[in-house]
Symmetry: D2
């Protein structure tokens, strides 16, 4: 009976940012141990990172293919791989681990093409492997409470959605011409690495996922008004959306909105009530029933549903943040991997992490927005 | 040399709502006195209102035509008329007073047809008469400060606009079928009285005006996704906008968004900074310069520009609200009428009220949105 | 049967601030007309003000004694007097009008000495006259709703009170020595005019009144730690309080707290719930029941009690501010004066204005705080 | 040259709360590994916890004395001990580890008696050992920024302090008599375990520390009005404070204030500006300069000082919470232990954790408040 897991990581050397957040997220529950890695294409950074974490030198690999094969064959091979490289490498790496029988957690967006995303799904199903796409905001307790309340019918039928994700960090690119690519070093701005979209791909996709996670609604079509301001990829997008249930709404994402750091705000309006959640202040949730005062739900209080409270780690008023969201994605995913290894059945709580369907939906959304953007905001089916 | 004015009112009997707000707004500065009226089609209500305000019985008129003619001929006739009837009567009433040489202040939206609006403008210019369309929110001191800061270049070139006006008060109409018209008694829902739009006409038009007032930008085209939820007129609209300078944005207006009372929020994003103003909390203004902390401007403080501060009536921290916004519209309009009467030149401050160009822009915006809404959110020129 | 009243004003020339707010507040309901005044000791300012309001020249008086006597004798004399002079003149002026049989509304604090306050009460009762002390914040609809909820038992027994009134406008006086009196021209800083206290007298007294209004609790004793920072009167005070029911709390008032404009915040904690109201954003009220989410009450919504809603003038989300608070004080006071004149009985709603008991409590509170401040924050009975 | 440390823990079995937060906090930087423990007096819980973390069975100790001695003697003994037991055990445990030459990090409040606290200091200095008292809130980046700004003179001389720490979780104890001790199982309410104070000891001490950390001011005396509501220890306290520089202020702490979860709010007022920080929303800091708009500082932005930014882990807008505050306390403490072990000099940044002086100040503050509370809020020297 397995009690702990081993994992390996691709990307995420000591200097990188998001890879470290993954390692801390995993450490919260102490149920998985880093055992292998291919942390960087730079051999020195790769070795240094592996050594810092006390890895067996032979499990610090020079390439992800080597790693996937070797770990797939070891008796004590890693149980799952964590993929934290730039977007363009996701598909091939995930594929390699799946082909070697290893569960995968990959950063979002999942990959460039819808066909690739579907191929990963086919492969995972064929091999009976688990796959998580790290839409981390769904790890927040009150995002889960929003989902619980909406699915319980508290706000009635959804009739309008207003969601946004605004940042200011690329405002200097506006009108900066070719120099912007040089001046500001972000691979997100480079089509070769980031794919067909910068803004919609990086943050618009979080809007899509968070709304889908909370509401269960499927997007039918989008009309996206995008702005590149002279850069290769989009920096700003205002997107009309239509869901399969007929509800409408608007998604706004931007990297050029001064005054907004990482402003993901989701507002879901129903016939009986409404819900608002603001990622930057994730420990409260605004819930209003028709004709009644807005209520400020506080994570950690007794009125939070058991489904959401199962992921709450600190008493009310003790702020949880992004690291806890990551820890909660891993809490469900690691539970699922552990129970699968032990032949135990999975609960709803175990399955509460974003999987390949979420990943595929994200890639489709990005493609539809980019195509609509090119066609002067014409409607494009998702 | 005139020091005080006389005014008459059409609509606004004692039981009506907005007409009373106008009378209080005028009373703030004590420079105009109610002297005539045709307050209601109900003779009793009309008489009762006139008597309450101590009017000369012969100046309590049975019809606006009678009133316009009689007052136009009197030596001591009213200087301006205040039109606070439902929308469908605006055009004819305004026309009557203009034709009788009387300045006019009319509630918004100005009228049904663009041609009517332009005819009013032609008439006013021909007669040398002043005309105010009561987009009252521009009367707020900090809306004026936003305008001042933007026009001073503080936030650079405008690159994105995100504005909304959300209310919940008609959410019961969703799916209510024919009963909704009966159940909830608002003329705003009746095409015969409200015109071609309910939501865009009533509140979307305030977004259009407030953004135009603050930025000076002209709208080029709109793509409006509207929802009627089975009612004759729109209750919800998400609108992509493009300005003549090439900037994009989104306007959302709704009467079915639970949790929102009268939520007009305007956010203007520029290359150097951004501004946010929230009508429900009008005594603060959020100003952010690129890379800097957001600053909370407080009405009444020394750093407010003289242009805006000229309209501030209370010390900082003593909240001003809607009545003051009305008072400030009248402050400028009455100054203009007084000075015009006295042959004095008008200052920028005197002219700081919404005129016929604003009224025409509003009617055009409503038409463009309604047409786009009918054509599945296709782009329509404004 | 009287339908309208006449009033006169002492103080409040056109250049003065608060006097004008009174006139606008009265104008909201159109039930009282300015008919007499002694607006300034400066004859020109006095005359100019009276003329602006179209007063009969013989009713523009050179002194308040003359005015009180003359108006008391006239057939068409004023029904009530509005006293808006600096503090030191309140007592004598109020006395003069009472002695001449005229109802009075006086700015707070009522007067310097407790004995004076009690004498005014004796006089008013003897003559059967009404008297309002303008603690204007109790005119806010949601201050009334707080009072209603507390008195209905919604928050249980009160166990702690935390209230503050913070301003920054005198921070330059700290350590400024004798120059401060000269440099900053406010009579509030001058003991000869303001009395024994600046900060506690001007704004601390508002805390005392607002808490008393909402809770009905009587103060038993105070321990006040006051700071003058080298000036003649207090600029800052932190005050422990004990109520007659045994509950404790703290009141903080200051004119030297940077970042606070006019920050009156009252928080009342009970065994079952709590209430928070913030004067600078008066259209919302925070209500929390034990173990439940905080609810944001919105003025104008259907769940507001009839007692409070009776004073609400605008739909929800249309901000009401200080002028409306004044209008509401006058709404009750004028109703009371009108009904008294007509021999009609007064309702609870009519009586909902601060009277002489509130005025006396305020003077006692100021005296107790000043004495405690001198005795190193020793307890002093109120 | 040491690169990583070993640590042991006393208290903090798998079921306990705060002990787990410590382990996660340490895991953030991966520089210390759990190697020994005495996690519970319950042998099964003790063993289970040690096994979960894969400890060598002989390093799962039955008593802290055994642990301190054995670890002190081992070649590979722990570098530091983490003490996360209830208050009454702190002193003896800390003493045992110091006597065996092991650095200590202990939860707050440090111990019961001032003499004990001073003895720990004497012992640590004698042995050259490092000691951290876990006032975790000082680990927040913006608490550090507040300290930086204040010490840089940005807000001038401090003239008033207003700080509070409000919770609602014990409100049911009010008037509950003897049953409260039974009904609600918290050792904090039991004098035998918690010491002389519940509320001031648990949360008032955080106010004292946070203000001292930010301002560097020393408390001179306190006048504490405390409430037990029939329970053995205090549940509510309003405390006047005087600092050695002459500034005054008020601290309010409570466990019976409905609507407040964990509301530590600190406001420091100076002659030139003011600072406000709210623990429940720790990623923003409100900074106001005299006469200027309030600025909302955002953790992670370029304008944050290097001193504070050194502890920032996530980009702006990605919320950091309590776990990060713990991680930052450990970041400094572990750096100090590592460098001390390697004979390297410590930087200001390394020393940025609360030490024994902070611990002693906390014990003194609690004693002074309790004594003042017993003497009807008389002044007591700290």
């Amino acid at each position: 009976m397995k009690k702990k897991l081993l994992y390996g990581q691709v990307g995420g050397s000591l200097n990188a940012f998001i890879g470290g957040v993954h390692r801390v997220g995993i450490a919260f529950d102490g149920r998985a141990q880093l055992a292998a890695g291919c942390f960087s294409r730079d051999p020195a950074a790769n070795r240094e990172t592996g050594e810092f974490y006390g890895l067996d030198p032979e499990r610090i690999y020079g390439s992800y293919t080597e790693m996937a094969e070797a770990e797939g064959k070891r008796e004590d091979g890693i149980d799952f791989a964590v993929v934290t490289t730039p977007n363009n490498a996701h598909y091939a790496i995930c594929r390699a681990f799946l082909e070697n029988g290893i569960h995968v957690l990959c950063e979002k967006p999942l990959c460039f093409e819808v066909s690739e995303a579907e191929e990963l799904k086919r492969l995972a199903e064929e091999r009976g492997l688990l796959f998580c796409v790290n839409y981390s905001y769904s790890g927040n307790v009150l995002a889960k409470e929003a989902r619980h309340l909406i699915r319980s019918g508290v706000i009635g039928d959804i009739i309008n959605v207003n969601a946004e994700y605004l940042q200011e960090y690329l405002v200097d690119d506006v009108g900066a011409g070719d120099e912007a690519m040089v001046k500001l070093s972000s691979w997100r701005k480079d089509p070769a690495v980031a794919g067909i979209s910068n803004c919609v791909g990086d943050i618009g996709s979080h809007i899509e996922n968070t709304v889908a996670y909370m509401t269960g609604l499927k997007l039918k079509r989008v009309a996206a008004l995008t702005d590149t301001f002279g850069q290769p990829l989009d920096l700003n997008a205002n997107i009309l959306v239509e869901f399969e249930n007929g509800a409408h709404g608007v998604y706004s994402c931007s990297q050029v909105c001064v005054g907004h750091m990482n402003g993901l705000t989701v507002r879901i309006f129903g016939t009986l009530g409404a819900i608002e959640w603001v990622q930057e202040n994730p420990n409260v949730l605004y819930v209003t029933l028709k004709g009644q005062p807005t209520q400020i739900y506080n994570r950690g209080m007794g009125y939070i549903s058991p489904e959401a409270a199962a992921f709450s780690r600190l008493p009310s008023g003790h702020p949880e943040g992004l690291y806890v969201a990551f820890a909660n994605i891993y809490k469900a995913f690691i539970s699922s991997v552990l129970k699968t290894a032990n032949g135990e059945p999975l609960t709803e709580e175990d399955r509460d992490y974003p999987g390949l369907d979420a990943g595929i939906a994200g890639v489709k959304f990005i493609h539809a927005c980019v195509e609509s953007g090119k066609r002067d905001a014409a409607w494009v089916e998702v």
